[in-house]
């Protein structure tokens, strides 16, 4: 698709949407949002960029193969489950920091799990969309 408006717009929308997706990811524990929605929004950012420019350009921005994000995300999720094991607690027991961090708020192993979901969703969506558009 060749549209100068979309092209210019997507350059600005890409960082904005990614920031928005991280915002959604962080507020997800008690409020609507979380890793799944955040990951979808982040993948929309890249898909929009790929519509406006081309697959090559978008791939250059991402650098790594999006499929690699899947195991990385799973490692995050796995860690959120096994961290309590080292503290002699039952598996998947949430561990929280005592003081809230500025801006982000309370941080615990649940966030680690959400980051994992975010990466897996991003990786899966981009892999599917890129594979389909390569074969078209």
């Amino acid at each position: 698709m060749k549209s100068i408006i979309l092209k210019t717009g997507s350059d600005y929308l890409l960082p904005l949407l990614i920031m928005f997706s991280i915002f959604i990811l962080l507020r997800g524990h008690y409020l609507p949002g979380g890793g799944f929605v955040g990951g979808l929004i982040a993948s929309i950012a890249f898909v929009l960029h790929f519509f406006a420019n081309s697959l090559e350009n978008t791939k250059n921005i991402i650098r790594i193969h999006p499929g690699l994000l899947i195991p990385v995300g799973l490692v995050f999720a796995l860690f959120s489950a096994i961290i309590p094991l080292f503290l002699d607690q039952a598996v998947m027991t949430a561990q929280w920091m005592h003081e809230p961090l500025p801006v982000i708020g309370m941080v615990g192993t649940a966030l680690l799990f959400d980051i994992g979901v975010y990466l897996v969703v991003l990786g899966v969506t981009l892999t599917i969309i890129f594979t389909i558009s390569e074969t078209m």
Binding site: G67, L74, L78, P84, A90, T93
Partner: protein
């Protein structure tokens, strides 16, 4: 902490799958890693089994949320035995896969998905929460969808369609049953349900829910009117995949049935009779179906159905003796069915065909291998002192004690049909002279590298050795089966440990 130990079979398989995903592009490394990780996983399962065997039931509350509100993982002797046996089967299939799965499948993540499948199986065996059981079933079927379609050949996709449709239907029925159970009792923890279901006034609705569970698990374990997806799909994927499907997937359904109908629902006369009738019909149709098949794997698929009947009959008679027969059969069946599909893979590699009419002359060309393959065949047929004999003996004894002569007759008949089918297999494949030499482009067993040959023969030896142990060490296994059966007949200890009384 010892309680946390029991979640390790699940977490370790997840870890294995993640490690293998990182090696996406390097299939040779994936092969070695998968085998090594399966070995470690076998060691973990054996350790857990030993622990449970010595000290009794272990449970842990995930996320430290107390039962009945959180998700409980419980390892009683039943669960830990199943986890151990599925690790054994997983190791054998992983080794067999290294030689027989082509690059076109390995490149698309065959090994990670295999480990995800085993993770799902372990989770289903260990969970103490009925909704969590549903989630593990979903993980199992999603992983199995990938395994059955990977490679994308035409008949593979055709078989997968039937498999997927029926399994999704089974899942939705299972989910409906869970919803009704939750509506009736307000709980999902199986130990808690066991107490609450007994107090429900509306017995009619309880029976309906029990029937829905029976149908849902029945589709998954391929019992009489609901089995037709199984022979339509199990002969289409590669042999290693057929082996893990034939060995483990239907048995999870049987496991769930044994668990639910001893722990949550009480067997009344109606349910017991219904299960027995269906068990008889399952044995009969499976056996008769196997008689007329010429494709080896289709024949074995019908034999799976036939033998599901034995286990369901053990459940239906619902005495401690019949449970112990069904459990012994379950343990024996996982090992021997996995092995027999691997044997089918070896036969295919040597003869170049799965058709009984075209194959032949295997004993003349490979006498030692033939004798090795005879072990699982004879175990399956139930020739004493091999492993198939003892559980059948227990089941027959159980039906005799209850004076249930119809079941008694049909168990004997089904055993006889099995023997006949396997004798036919032996006569056609091993003894018959081969009519014509196969086409030249077939990649014959003798063309494989010695390393690959070893990877194909070793799992068969390994599983045959375990069947021999199950047969020759019958007293030990019988004790275990009896102990599990007593735990199933009287679940009060299980309930106490889960609810922390």
């Amino acid at each position: 902490m010892k309680d946390n130990l029991i979640i390790l079979p699940v977490l370790f398989q997840l870890f294995s799958a993640v490690v293998l995903l990182f090696m996406w592009n390097s299939t040779p490394r994936q092969k070695i890693t998968s085998v090594l990780l399966s070995l470690v996983s076998l060691a973990i399962s054996a350790y857990i089994f030993a622990n449970v065997y010595q000290t009794g039931i272990i449970s842990t509350q995930a996320g430290s949320w107390k039962a009945p509100f959180g998700i409980t993982f419980v390892a009683d002797l039943f669960s830990s035995t199943m986890v151990l046996i599925s690790s054994v089967a997983g190791l054998a299939v992983s080794v067999f896969s290294t030689a027989t799965i082509g690059k076109n499948r390995l490149r698309f993540g065959y090994f990670p998905v295999l480990h995800f499948l085993i993770m799902g199986l372990n989770g289903a065996f260990l969970t103490g929460d009925i909704f969590n059981l549903y989630v593990w079933f979903e993980i199992i079927i999603i992983a199995s969808f990938v395994l059955i379609t990977i490679g994308g050949e035409k008949d593979q996709l055709e078989g997968a369609m039937k498999y997927v449709t029926m399994n999704l239907l089974a899942s939705s029925i299972f989910l409906t049953a869970i919803a009704m159970l939750y509506g009736l009792t307000g709980s999902l923890n199986m130990a808690d349900l066991s107490l609450r279901v007994a107090e429900v006034q509306n017995r009619g609705l309880v029976n309906v829910t029990a029937m829905l569970f029976f149908v849902g698990f029945g589709i998954k374990s391929a019992i009489f009117p609901l089995y037709f997806w199984l022979p339509a799909s199990y002969h289409t994927p590669p042999f290693a995949v057929s082996a893990i499907f034939g060995g483990l997937l239907t048995k999870v359904g049987v496991y769930a049935m044994l668990r639910i109908f001893t722990l949550v629902f009480e067997m009344d006369a109606f349910l017991s009779n219904l299960i027995l009738v269906i068990a008889i019909l399952t044995m009969l149709t499976g056996g008769l179906g196997a008689l007329i098949q010429n494709n080896i794997r289709r024949m074995l698929a019908y034999l799976i159905i036939c033998h599901i009947g034995f286990m369901i009959a053990g459940l239906g008679m619902s005495t401690t003796l019949s449970f112990s027969g069904a459990l012994y059969y379950l343990i024996h069946d996982i090992v021997v069915k996995t092995n027999i599909f691997l044997v089918a893979g070896l036969i295919f590699a040597i003869c170049g065909t799965e058709n009984l009419k075209m194959a032949g002359g295997l004993y003349a060309s490979h006498p030692k291998l033939s004798l090795l393959m005879a072990i699982p065949l004879f175990s399956l047929a139930g020739i004493p002192p091999l492993s198939g004999f003892w559980p059948k003996l227990t089941l027959i004894k159980a039906s005799f004690v209850q004076e249930d002569y119809v079941v008694f007759t049909f168990i004997l008949l089904a055993s006889f049909v099995t023997l006949f089918v396997l004798a036919r297999l032996w006569a056609e494949v091993f003894w018959k002279k081969r009519e014509h030499i196969s086409n030249d482009d077939f990649f014959c067993f003798n063309d494989y590298l010695p390393k690959e040959k070893a990877a194909m023969v070793f799992p068969v030896i390994f599983l045959a050795a375990i069947s021999l142990f199950l047969g020759l060490g019958a007293e030990f296994i019988n004790n275990i089966a009896w102990q599990i059966a007593s735990e199933l007949s009287d679940p009060s200890k299980y309930i106490d440990i889960v609810l922390g009384n």
